[in-house]
Symmetry: C2
DNA sequence: TCGAGGCGGCAATGGTATTCTCCCAATTGG
DNA sequence: CCAATTGGGAGAATACCATTGCCGCCTCGA
């Protein structure tokens, strides 16, 4: 189980395909570079401002490209943000998989997954791994995205969801948890963990916040004999 | 426990206070009426369009009042939406409390709460109770609100949260669940239930959606011996 | 009756996304 | 090597909205 880069549907980033297919096939690599420049600029702005409220104009200026070009590669701002989101998920999937693969016991793997996913959105005070981005703004934007383009978000989350499904199935096979339907169980866990982070923003007093561990314990009990 | 209208901080709607305090005290009732007309118009538009993306202008036209007046009562569109949100929560609290009070057994009361809260956001195919509004757009907007004004959302949710806390405490006192900290447990339940609804929008296949009952069972197991 | 504040009507401003238009410069085919 | 085609830069023009400002009426209290 859990082979190296086992993304469900091929491994090519979805945004890349979309952006590139708009250009001629011969110019593919140049097109990718240009699209990438937009993405890089957007990531920078996002990291600096700590929010997704940069303007297209800023992205243009920063990337040293033209407005025209931007709309040639992206259908609009939402598409750009979706692309950022997809990139971030990809990054995170690798990160989570790494942590998970450090464990061998099925429950320990699930545990590692839950903790890491919960921390996924948090702004790490500790210096970020080189090249990793501040995920907070993206996570926040994700909920808006989930309202307006649920299918897209689901699609982008696929890698993370898929990994979790595997872990749940493994644990179930080992009789460590008893779930009648692995998919539903996985969905429940993913939701609980992710929105537990989101819900924390409604709680001022930091001591009242729900930690990753607490959330995990709650999930674990939920999984024992569904 | 669970006295009739036991809102934590007085029972006067918060938006009403805000809107009214902007006017002279003598003209209070007239001011309330005017503010209410704006709210009514906004509710209508929201119900019709199924979203909060109506324009201020539409609210003005529909309510037969002036732009000027609008900004006299509300600091901006966000305040209006917050007011709608608060009203809706109030409505729902009454509704939930009613269902809960039909039960006497602590766990049954908790169960009733969870189910009702989960359904809270769903667009009821069944004709709505007269005067009740389509809560979907509000619920959707709530997540945006939670990003931008977490404290306000928390404040508005207070009545619902408070009710849940009581129920959890009652159940704990009766030794039906064992939670070290009722507040945290309540928060966890509320989050799980509410976001379980929200998460469902990421699942196309209706048969894979998480039902209110499933979510409740998950919570219940989570509460048994924390 | 007079004056001031409440309020309707509406034009003006400001911030953004998105589209349009013009033009240059490089590539390419003859 | 030249001219046609086209990718792409600059940025003006549009389209929306929210929000503010300004003018003048009209009412209500003194």
């Amino acid at each position: 189980m859990a082979e190296a880069g086992a993304t469900p549907e091929g491994t090519e980033p979805a945004w890349r395909q979309r952006a590139v297919s708009r250009s001629l096939d011969s110019a593919r690599s140049r097109a990718e570079k240009r699209a990438q420049r937009f993405l890089d600029a957007a990531f920078e702005l996002m990291d600096e401002k700590g929010s997704t409220e940069f303007t297209i104009q800023e992205v243009i200026d920063r990337s040293g490209q033209s407005l025209r070009g931007f709309y040639q590669y992206f259908d609009g701002k939402d598409e750009l943000l979706l692309a950022l989101f997809e990139e971030t998920v990809r990054e995170s999937t690798d990160d989570i998989r790494e942590v998970v693969d450090a464990e061998t016991e099925p429950l320990a793997r699930l545990h590692a997954y839950a903790i890491r996913l919960h921390e996924w959105c948090e702004p790490p005070d500790k210096p970020r791994k080189r090249g990793a981005h501040n995920r907070r703004p993206i996570s926040e934007f994700m909920v808006q995205l989930a309202v307006n383009h649920p299918e897209r978000v689901k699609g982008a989350m696929e890698p993370v969801s898929f990994l979790l499904l595997e872990l749940v199935q493994d644990a179930a096979r080992a009789n460590l948890i008893s779930v009648p339907d692995a998919r539903r169980a996985a969905a429940l866990v993913q939701q609980t963990v992710m929105y537990s982070w989101f819900g924390n923003r409604l709680i001022q007093n930091p001591r009242m916040r729900l930690s990753a561990e607490e959330t995990w314990e709650f999930c674990l009990r939920g999984l024992r004999s569904t």
